[in-house]
Structures are given as C-alpha cells and as structure tokens.
Symmetry: C2
Subunit: 245 residues, 2 copies
Amino acid sequence: MIDRRTAATDAFPVSQRNRIKRLHERGRYDRNAVFAVLDAGFFCHVAYVIDGQPYCTPTIHWREGDVLYWHGSSASRMMRHLRSGTPVCVTVSHLDGLVLARSAFHHSVNYRSAMCFGAARIVVNAEEKARALDAFVNRLYPGRAEQLRPIRPQEVKAAMVVAMRIDQGSAKVRAAGVSDDEEDYELPIWAGVIPVRTLVGEAEPCARLRPDVARPEGLAAYRAGRTLDEALVETQRSYGDDRAR
Amino acid sequence: MIDRRTAATDAFPVSQRNRIKRLHERGRYDRNAVFAVLDAGFFCHVAYVIDGQPYCTPTIHWREGDVLYWHGSSASRMMRHLRSGTPVCVTVSHLDGLVLARSAFHHSVNYRSAMCFGAARIVVNAEEKARALDAFVNRLYPGRAEQLRPIRPQEVKAAMVVAMRIDQGSAKVRAAGVSDDEEDYELPIWAGVIPVRTLVGEAEPCARLRPDVARPEGLAAYRAGRTLDEALVETQRSYGDDRAR
C-alpha cells in the first residue's frame, strides 16, 4: 500500500529512524514541509554521542538545498568531537501557542518541529570554509558579507564548519484549536489557545557606530514588530535556497 | 586554585561532561543560574541514543527542585526507548538578540542556554504518575488541575512520565552589545543588536466555550504583550520551585 506521505515526489526516504510514531497524522516527510520549519528557525539543537553519553548543543544553522551547515569554535566540545561520518540529529522547533483543554489529557501546544538525520562532514578546505562562512552571513543578512571587514586567515582557522547532508528528515506540526472529548465541551471550564510569537525588536545600533553609517538595505527583513520566522524565510528566499541541490 | 564558579555554595559538580570549554567566561554552574534558564523556557530538547544513533526530541519540561520532568505518549519513540538509567541530556535555549559586528568573525547572538545531564527514571507508579501530571498542569497554569475534568485511569496509563535528577548542569549566557576588534570600530560598517522577544498573544477562547465561563485567575500570568519568559518564571514561583529539594 502506498503511503500518501512517503509517496510525495520530493520526500525524504522513510525508515524506522525518521518515521513519526506518535500522532503520525501530524507528520510530513516532504522537503517543502521540512525546509519550511528549518528555514524559519534561527537556531537548532544538535544531538551527538561521546562515549555513549548524549549531548544536545544549541547552535545556529543554515541550509543550502539538502545540506545543513553549522559552525563553531575549534575549541568547543561539539567541534572537537565531531568527526566526518559521526551520526548526528539536528532538530529545529517553534512554539506557536499554548492549548488549554477541559481535561489535563488534552492540553497541548501548537508547534512546528523538524528532525533531520545525517552524518557530519567537517569542512577542512580553507577556501570552502571561508566561502561557507560568507554564505552563513549572507543567508542571514543578505549582501552583508561583502560589506564587512574581510575575514582573516587565522579567523578561518579558528572556526570549524560542519556540513550535514540530510539523509532523512521529518516535520511535525500542530496548528489547531482545542480538541476535547466530545462530552467535555459542555463542562464549565475555560478552554482556548494562548498564541506565542517570536518578534523582532527595534535595532540598537552599536554605541561606537560612526555617525555617518546608515542601517544597510540588507537588514530590511528584520523590521521591528515582525515575526522572526517571516524575516528568516524572506532572507533565505533572497539568498536562494536551492544553491546546492 | 579555587575556581570562582565551581566554588559557589549551590553549584552542580563540574567534570569533563558539563565543563564549558568555549568562552567559559560565559558559563555558570550554580543552581540559580541553571534554574533561571530552565524555568523561563516552555520546552526543552532531549538527546538520547538508540543503537548508537542520537535523537533530539523537543518536549515540554517542568522542574521540581533538582528534578526535571517531561511526559509523552507511551507510543512515542522516545518513551518506548527510554529505560530507567538511560543517560540523557536536556537542553533549554532562548534567543534574545542578533549581534551584528563589523567582521563576520564577531557576529554573534545574545542567548541563554542550560544543559543538564542525568539518567532517566520512568515513573511507573500510577499514583505518582497522576500526581506528576497534575503538577505539570499546575506548574504551567496555577490551580488549573483542580478545575479540570478529573484525569481517568486509562489516561494515566496512556501517558508516560520521565523524571531526571540533574546530576550535572551548566548555563551559558551572552547578554551584551557588539564586541569588535579594537581597530574595526572605525570602519564605516553598520553594527548593532537586533533584539528578539517571545511574546504572549491575546488568548483565543475555544469556539465551543460555554458563554458563562470566564477566564480563570490562574492564567493571569499570561497577559497579552508580556514575554513568555516572565509568565513562566512567575508561574514557577507561584507553584513553588523547591518542593522536591
């Protein structure tokens, strides 16, 4: 029997590793659904194992096609232990609302999350690494890398860049109102959704900013009052999310 | 030599596992610092290992003293694989601002994160589990558990609750402006901080809410326009965060 979700033309392959077990009707395996969650998030959590001990490290990610990148200092635990080939799981999650039902059991949250599996690849070539670091800046702040003081060879050396091709991914989304047991709707208990939004605030220029320097056009996506999600989806689009596919 | 941070009266023990390697001046090991990050977050990411493969699952946590709790369906992957004694790492992260410097290297973010290590303990006793589920509701929404339709035995059965005593924990915080190389401040490049806040929105009552039901007092912390952080710290305080210590 063909699974409607896994039969999507542009879906990640599904196995035990990424199959959604619980509330699988909320699950999606197609790239569009997974990328939408990844691209709307500023940071991810990377799970990896050292000597049987799991670690969960938050870091900033960026995406080019099927490849997720993140960077870190060569001195960090994660970066000292990740070797090319190390299995990792990268998860991006958004909280969108608190769902209060009439029973404890049906309390829930509205959320979007994506879980991606693959093997780490350490970017060792200095030129590829410098290019990746520029891409990192430009993906978040369109055109900014070219406006900055150029990156120095020792800075490239101090940074580590990890690339992970997404072998398998899945997204899970809840975006709905309260769902109670039918007989509970009649109860005199308050129920509803408290929405939660992550918003961009008013930019605070550096106290030592030269007075003749205006805020660059490339930051237009980050206007105050907007959701960070929207800004990140817009900047990813203007960066071009299909470069590496 | 006594380490100022690890010598704190109420600090978690420090070893290779939780020692902060990178930018260790941002690190803290005392309970107050770790709990402040945990309590201000609605959800965490749990890292665990199945057959050498790391997984990173987002879920909602609550805390009583040194013990972190989370729950899930007995059908979920995480819950089917966690056994009492399984090592886990639970991380809570907050993004507070985007820091744009004059060089790519000094771009950063303002953030708060806490990483906690321990062993999972599955709560099997039905009474303890029911009590934990009530505590979960009341920690988030003070006094709410008592107002709800009582939990049914089959609902207690369908839920799994994990308790993890925090053996080791650490917090890492950046809350500062732009930090550039001294000679770069003179460059005609825009630099500054774009703050990011996660805010509570206007509550949306369930469409099937009985017209005579008012919004309960216990939800007062979640008033529109407030940061979710503040609401969660307030509700944790009114719940009493030292119950289990």
